[in-house]
Symmetry: C2
Subunit: 401 residues, 2 copies
């Protein structure tokens, strides 16, 4: 058995990001930039007003002075002339500061009548003026390569005048569920049969991670069927199998794919749930073999598949992010496997996060997994812990899982 | 000016969830359940083994005893017979427990040869047996209505044998950007022009929230154009305008839409950035008028639009979730507006979250918004605060913004 951290390192070390494609700005949210994004213009392009009021020369604008309003500078329609002594230009938020003006008189600090304006409070030179380039200047790197684009980034890319963006292609991930006992939801269920849930949960997880799932037809516990189905994954960036990775006689994935060019890297990890996990390659395509147990499959997907998808997507590689909280109930000492314990989250009286494990952690309990808000991490050989002990956890909702 | 909490209450009080539609399980991740999801079967359907080993009678399985292996019960292929005295059935994880057996002998606690098995460690009655219904039973409510379906929920719905799910229709949200000064990204930029960024950022935010954006053509600062564009939003669940909500002479949205059946509820909120914000209805369609300033628009979208979209989507209504951290730098006392301060997040030596405001908070700085990880909330009239003071913040990434 190898440690979780070593397994993850070996998985990530074997993967390279997908190539680039060009997509419309309106389709780019959630995608990962393949090149740094540079500003194509300066924003604001010139000095502009931050408020509605009057652009004028501060030295002219003593309280009670009477200035002639010679024009207007609304946003988008710069005043063509300048501001001379004793003059003012009506200006609006975002409007260009006319040449000559060095101050903004707020409209609430002025009385206007008859084409003239009179300060009731003297403006300060430079105040309420946004200088050219305050936000960014042409050529500035606004967003680095390898960044997953947020809604805010889309706004920034738009403001920087990019109708198209260069992003990593979505990784294509084939999902192969194996097992004689599984059937698709809604289909006739034979005695002893179980409805296939892993492929659908994994497809949703893969899509939420920004990749493209390809759900292959279920393969029975039969070498030929598994080999044929895996062959259909050609052109994918990753093959994910589920089932057939335990230590029993029915572990067929390795046996079925070996003759077809499968090379194994490792297949036993000190993790619970999920010890049996295959990592290798099928004729150059990386293959991650998840356990058939639905809870183990999702936990291993959180720990190994999501980082792998991030790496393929062009994001920084590493373990999924964790948070800190306080243990909600006492736990016994751990053995040599790293535990991922289904738990709920709450807040104590002081607003601190409390992480409370479900009392039953049987790995067949999918309803408990769905109800869980967190996977609490217990390192191998962690000692017994009282309620209130600081703990580390993965928050499932923040991963889109 | 009304308080943020009152404004949000009035907005949410005016909205009702969309109707239901039926979607395939494979399309349902991220959607909101419109009806509780009931289990259509019992899982496991019968008592099954949790491990690979041998099903037998505990009383027969003393260390050194020799039991005859009379068959096998792999997952999906129940053994047809039973287990009598002195007998054992080879069993695999998920395999049905044959009648007569009451214990599982782990394969690592046994030696097998010649059609017989001998315990090297005595099994305990009932251990490693998953009872029928351990996960769920037919008729159990597995997921409540109003829940946004996670990848784990999809797995659970599949396991409960649901190929189709009934979810709320995605809210349709029209986005109307107004302003003479704005042009689409990549188009010729006139003097004083600004590239339209709000509509694209909002569309991404709306899509991330599970709704369907409809980006209307930009309307200039002209009553007819605004009225015509807004008319194109018929059939939407919400109209979001951006621009035209400030106190200057160029506030056209209200003026343009008034004659076309617009009724105003309120339009000034004690919030920074973003004081001007319109809430009302256009002939029965709710209308949220966001500020034209891009930072204000996104902040108001986080505070008001996301909760509105959640309400329309059938989720529980309320403010967006906040977290707690420690202030990273001293702040002056606040005035009467509720501040949403762009900030970065880090961890101190003890793992606590530190929230550090950017030194410049000018509302035109979109690059600062993109770089922010959090919006730190300061209540109206909050006193001056030292570094280390507990603070509340909205984490932007957890909202998909």
């Amino acid at each position: 058995m190898i440690a979780v951290s070593e397994a993850l390192e070996r998985i990530l070390g074997n993967l390279t990001p997908t190539g680039a494609e060009t997509v419309a700005l309106s389709e780019a949210a959630g995608r990962v930039l393949a090149r740094p994004l540079e500003a194509r213009l300066t924003q604001p392009p010139t000095d502009v007003s931050a408020m509605d009021g009057y652009a004028l020369r501060a030295e002219d604008a003593a309280v009670g002075a009477r200035l002639r309003v010679v024009g207007a500078s609304p946003a988008g329609h710069p005043f063509e002339g300048g501001v001379g002594p004793g003059e003012a230009v009506r200006i609006f938020t975002g409007g260009a500061l006319p040449p000559g003006a060095d101050a903004i008189l707020l409209q609430e600090d002025a009385t206007a009548e008859d084409g003239h304006v009179t300060p009731t409070e003297a403006p300060r030179r430079g105040r309420w003026i946004r200088r050219a380039g305050l936000d960014f200047s042409a050529g500035d790197t606004l967003l680095p390569a390898g960044r997953r684009l947020t809604a805010r980034d889309i706004g920034l890319a738009a403001a920087a005048n990019h109708p198209w963006l260069t992003v990593h292609r979505r990784p294509r991930v084939a999902i192969l569920a194996t097992g004689d006992e599984i059937v698709l939801p809604g289909e006739a269920l034979p005695p002893g049969g179980i409805v296939s849930s892993n492929a659908h949960a994994l497809a949703a997880l893969i899509r939420a991670a920004g990749a493209e799932p390809l759900v292959l037809p279920i393969a029975g516990d039969d070498r030929e069927a598994i080999a044929a189905a895996a062959g259909a994954a050609a052109g994918c960036d990753l093959i994910v199998t589920t089932g057939g990775a335990s230590v029993g006689e029915h572990d067929l994935v390795q046996a079925a794919l070996g003759p077809h060019g499968f090379s194994l890297d490792f297949w036993k990890i000190a993790i619970r749930p999920g010890k049996p996990l295959i990592w290798g390659g099928l004729r150059g395509t990386p293959l991650l073999g998840l356990p058939g147990n639905p809870v183990s499959a999702v936990v291993c997907a959180v720990v190994f598949l999501i980082p792998a998808l991030r790496r393929l997507s062009g994001l920084a590689a590493g373990p999924v992010e964790t948070r800190h909280g306080l243990l909600g109930r006492a736990l016994e000492a751990n053995d040599r496997r790293q535990d991922y314990i289904r738990a709920t989250l709450s807040r104590d009286g002081e607003g601190r996060v409390v992480v409370t494990p479900f009392p039953m952690q049987d790995s067949s309990m999918l309803a408990t997994l769905a109800r869980a808000e967190a996977l609490m991490i217990r390192t191998p050989h962690a000692p017994a812990a009282e309620a209130g002990t600081p703990v580390e956890f993965v928050e499932l909702s923040s991963l889109g899982v």
